[in-house]
Symmetry: none
Subunit: 233 residues, 2 copies
DNA sequence: TTTATTTTCTCCAAAAATGAAACAAAATTG
DNA sequence: CAATTTTGTTTCATTTTTGGAGAAAATAAA
């Protein structure tokens, strides 16, 4: 899993520190800005996954910052406000914040809301499986919504990573991928590991997937390059 | 479950965009119209599952659009109005809108109401069809109107959440859902809590529902992904 | 055939996911 | 408003998966 980056915008230094400490303790990467202009700049260049934005800011207030940010980023914005401020406006259409928290707040509450917003973000990706949920290649069926592969109608028990590997290769059948490329696509962009990991996962997958261990049909090796899924299957 | 289609009718382009973005982020399919006539046309041909309709519109105002739409579609209509407009008329018989939202509103609020209406929609449909109120899967009977589950004819005493969980999974049997997705669908849009809550509820449900605690039949785990209802039941 | 390179295999340790249980908070009911 | 039930959180234990290192095997080249 990758560390989500959170931009904290507030002019009160102690508050920023408190939030930073709490967020970092939960494994988030935190960047911060003390005023609106810096916030916009940071948001553009650092591309945070979520923005915690104070309402009262020097130079450019939260309202303005939010309005300018909205067209530039899809990251959820949580406004931090004092009680009594016009909450309906904050969440209103003009601004487009995703949520708000009123001061004083507990760190736990902030964390809960941050988590919930980030969750919502990832949620869509996992489920928009759409119509075409089963890929068929020869006698292989890859069911994307059941995370299940069948060969000749029989379930093949793969782990999550193994499944992802087969899915990726099968969706790009015929194309050879280097180990580095597979690490990128199957493991994720910020994965720093040994390329040998790919070999091991390929072997384990073959063990479960291939009917004939001496004559592989699905995941083939392109010596000196990498692996690919046999298109003719 | 296919993506619900929502028709957004408003003449302010930025507003439409904001709503579209938010709705799509929740997995809905969005179509839009900028005036009343287009709205009616779209509603007829695209058959949306829900209509978000602004009060002030060029060519044909929301009042008229709603009145003409009502006989043609059973989709819930949510009126978008400025504060101070005659709300009782909007919901009244003459127009027949199902709900209303006053400007300015938060995206969250809109999503909440959309969701609520769609939920009621499916509920009403399932009820008016009468017969189909009991889902049978193997020796399991899920009685949606009695909020009651029977296994082999014997009542299983589940709490509301547990019931909702089983119902949702059973209605989408075979499809694996991440904990995040389950929080969204079973707990609701504004739930701020830990994903592990799902684990605990699953465990409690299994305790009551499953006949064999060492060999689950209904709610199964897909390691690394989430939970699903066994299709073969 | 021999050598060098690449791939595969095996084992072990680390990390992650899940399950279970205990506890706390919140909601419901009488 | 007190008691009960439901729901959510946290912690700990267990299981499963994953990653890494090096030996063995296979392949290509000399």
């Amino acid at each position: 899993m990758c560390a989500k980056k959170i931009l904290v915008v507030d002019d009160e230094q102690p508050l920023v520190e408190l939030l930073t400490a709490n967020l970092e303790r939960e494994g988030y990467e935190v960047i911060s800005a003390g005023d609106g202009l810096t916030a916009i700049e940071l948001a553009e260049h650092q591309k945070p996954d979520l923005i915690l934005l104070d309402w009262m800011l020097p130079k450019l207030d939260g309202f303005e910052v939010c309005k300018r940010l909205r067209p530039k980023t899809t990251a959820p914005i949580i406004m931090v406000t004092a009680k009594g401020e016009e909450i309906d406006k904050i969440l209103g259409l003009e601004i487009g914040a995703d949520d708000y928290i009123t001061k004083p707040f507990s760190p736990r509450e902030v964390l809960a809301r941050v988590k919930a917003q980030l969750r919502r973000d990832t949620y869509v990706n996992k489920e928009t499986t759409g119509t075409d949920n089963i890929i068929k290649i020869g006698e292989l069926e890859i069911d994307k919504s059941a995370y299940q592969i069948r060969r000749a109608g029989v379930d093949v028990a793969l782990t999550f990573r193994e499944f992802q590997l087969v899915l990726f290769l099968a969706e790009n059948a015929g194309q050879v991928f280097s180990r580095e490329a597979l690490l990128q696509h199957v493991w994720g962009y910020e994965y720093f590991g040994d390329v040998r990991t790919v070999d091991v996962t390929v072997r384990r997958t073959r063990e479960k997937l291939e009917p004939d261990q001496n004559n592989y049909r699905y995941i083939l090796t392109k010596r000196g390059v990498g692996y690919y899924f046999d298109k003719s299957q």
